[in-house]
């Protein structure tokens, strides 16, 4: 039997596969398909203090090997989440991570603070990297300073472990990662979506109601992998890699590049049981390669 577990220091996962925020609903949506306790864990959809309407539809457009979304973080808000959803999740023997959003820096701390008063949350993921909520797709993770400030504020407000989620829409991903580390984040997850666009030549209109959106899926995997590789060489905190993971081999690439765990996003839409299949694939691969602990794979790239 292979040991698939990974230890992030602040959190031990039974395996390195987490459902990615915004693609895993509030978790419950996947209950009909498999036992959620088989997962390393999952990150619920981004939450603000208040319920949020989200962006004007259409919100999705397919591109070659990719998907652009402009959901705009529609959601029920942290209060309703803690009241209606969390009690259903907190009994599960798997890591429940909550994706934390904010209109401005203070809101992140307030959402985190609200969540910290509830049981059953393993960690918070700071979504400072959504391209769908501010004018022109901007986000705090595009600046080391704003990243530092936001992480620091949340850090001061709560004692829950923090995972800071980075944006690929930057010149130097390592500078932002270092800022998050310096501000005290326990881990870094990367990447969020790449700012993108599509046009319908017949109507001459953008295909998304919100004009621009975020690109995910296999198309972006090579970019995500490169960023994980770069950040792994720059910081000491553990990394959670994501972007276009659809198979166990994809997970291995991210782990070799330096990720301790991964998240699976868009693949959940194509196959609701994608995470489960990937976990099984990892087990088989480890067996076939005579590995005892899958965690050995992290950072094992030969360059």
């Amino acid at each position: 039997m292979v040991d698939l577990s990974v230890d992030l220091g602040f959190l031990k996962l039974k395996n390195p596969v987490l459902g990615a925020s915004g693609t895993f609903g509030y978790g419950l949506e996947f209950k009909p398909f498999y036992d959620l306790e088989l997962l390393g864990g999952f990150v619920v959809k981004g939450l603000y203090l208040k319920p949020r309407e989200g962006n004007r539809p259409p919100r999705l457009v397919e591109t070659p090997a990719g998907l652009i979304n402009s959901i705009g973080l529609q959601g029920i808000g942290v209060e309703a989440f803690c009241r209606d959803i969390l009690p259903e999740l907190s009994g599960l023997k798997t890591a429940i991570i909550v994706n934390v959003c904010g209109e401005e820096e203070d809101e992140y701390a307030r959402v985190a603070e609200y969540l910290s008063r509830h049981q059953g949350i393993a960690a918070l993921e700071l979504n400072i990297s959504c391209p769908n909520v501010r004018e022109g797709g901007r986000c705090p993770a595009q600046s080391p300073e704003a990243t530092y400030r936001t992480v620091k504020k949340v850090k001061q407000a709560v004692s829950l472990p923090l995972i800071t989620k980075l944006s690929p829409n930057v010149t130097d991903i390592t500078a932002v990662a270092l800022a998050a580390e310096e501000a005290g984040t326990e881990a870094i997850s990367l990447i969020n979506t790449l700012l993108a666009m599509a046009i319908d030549p017949e109507t001459r209109q953008p295909k998304l109601g919100n004009v621009m959106g975020g690109l995910s899926g296999p198309a972006i995997k090579p970019i995500a992998l490169r960023m994980v590789f770069q950040v792994a060489r720059a910081v000491k905190v553990p990394l959670i890699g994501l972007g276009g993971i659809f198979s166990a081999e994809d997970v291995l690439e991210f782990m070799m590049a330096g990720a301790s765990a991964v998240q699976v996003g868009t693949a959940n839409f194509v196959d609701p049981d994608a995470c489960l299949n990937i976990i099984r694939g990892l087990e088989t691969w480890a067996e076939n390669h005579g590995l005892q602990n899958l965690s050995q794979v992290t950072g094992s790239l030969k360059v």
Binding site: G22, T23, F24, G25, E29, F30, P32, F33, K45, E53, G54, R56, P57, P58, R59, L60, V61, E62, P64, A65, G66, L67, N69, I71, Q74, G75, Q205, K207, G209, G217, P218, A219, T266, N268, F269, V270, D271, P272, D273
Partner: protein, 266 residues
């Protein structure tokens, strides 16, 4: 709701761009309701990346039928499947048509434009079984858009057809045929599925005639089971306008709840 990766494609019938598939999937068949839909994998590669939502056209014993029109790459790939092959599908999904017991012995209009006919066969069958008197309005540009009219009649359903070019039945839009018939008949309810302009026009007619009803809406879907918030349409409910998920809160919505023209673009 479950994933069936070995749903066997039993029979393929086709008329030009239109395809009728008969699929063996006992478990999904057992749970199905009219107005619900399936998410179907159309490609083994990333092109296209996503599954395609297709309504349940009919359900009999262990078998599902789907009726679809080739609209682009995904449905074209689907149309190339052959009897004996396995399909990778999951479902049944969504909130289907409501079948109120008050419709018993009453006339009910079921209006479908082109591929919008898809969910109405199953619905009309259930209505009949429940003692209602469904009338299917089946509209298209031309006779070639109405490949199922013979079968619907043969299965004992009342069918009125319209074509824009007059090649078959009433000449004009199916909405005009509905208006025409409303002069004589007083249905208790109207169900419809079809292109947005058709639905919007029908919504006007229903409002004017104070006729209650439900529409099955389409939307581009990421997941089909409520996980992505990608499929929303603006719905007026409990005095508030909000974006509801077509895949989970729909695809069927009460006509008066649908907000036009917010939902038109795309």
């Amino acid at each position: 709701m479950l994933i069936d990766r070995k749903a066997r494609l039993v029979e393929v019938e086709s008329w030009g761009d239109y395809f009728l598939f008969t699929i063996d999937s006992p478990e999904i068949a057992r749970q199905a309701q009219p107005g619900q839909f399936l998410m179907i994998k159309v490609s083994e590669t990333t092109q296209p990346l996503l599954r395609r939502p297709i309504s349940l056209h009919n359900v009999e014993h262990t078998r599902l039928q789907i009726f679809f029109q080739v609209a682009g790459q995904g449905t074209r790939l689907l149309s190339s499947k052959r009897p004996g092959q396995s399909l990778d599908i999951f479902g049944p999904l969504g909130r289907g048509f409501s079948l109120s017991s008050e419709l018993r012995n009453r006339e009910v209009f079921c209006v479908g434009g082109g591929r919008g006919l898809a969910p109405l066969h199953y619905l009309a069958g259930k209505l009949k079984a429940a003692g209602a008197r469904p009338i299917i309005f089946y509209g298209g540009r031309s006779e070639t858009d109405l490949p199922l009219k013979g079968r619907l009649k043969a299965s004992g359903l009342e069918v009125l057809v319209s074509t824009d070019d007059g090649s078959c039945g009433f000449r004009g839009l199916v909405t005009s045929l509905v208006e025409e018939k409303l002069k004589q008949r007083k249905p208790a309810f109207l169900y419809a599925c079809g292109p947005d302009p058709m639905l919007e026009k029908l919504a006007d007619i229903c409002r004017r005639e104070k006729l209650a009803g439900e529409f099955s809406l389409e939307s581009i879907m990421g997941c089909g089971f409520g996980a992505c918030w990608g499929c929303v349409k603006k719905i007026r409910r409990d005095g508030q306008e909000k974006y509801l998920k077509v895949c989970q809160d729909g695809p069927v919505f009460p006509i008066e709840e649908i907000v036009w023209p917010e939902n038109e673009h795309g």
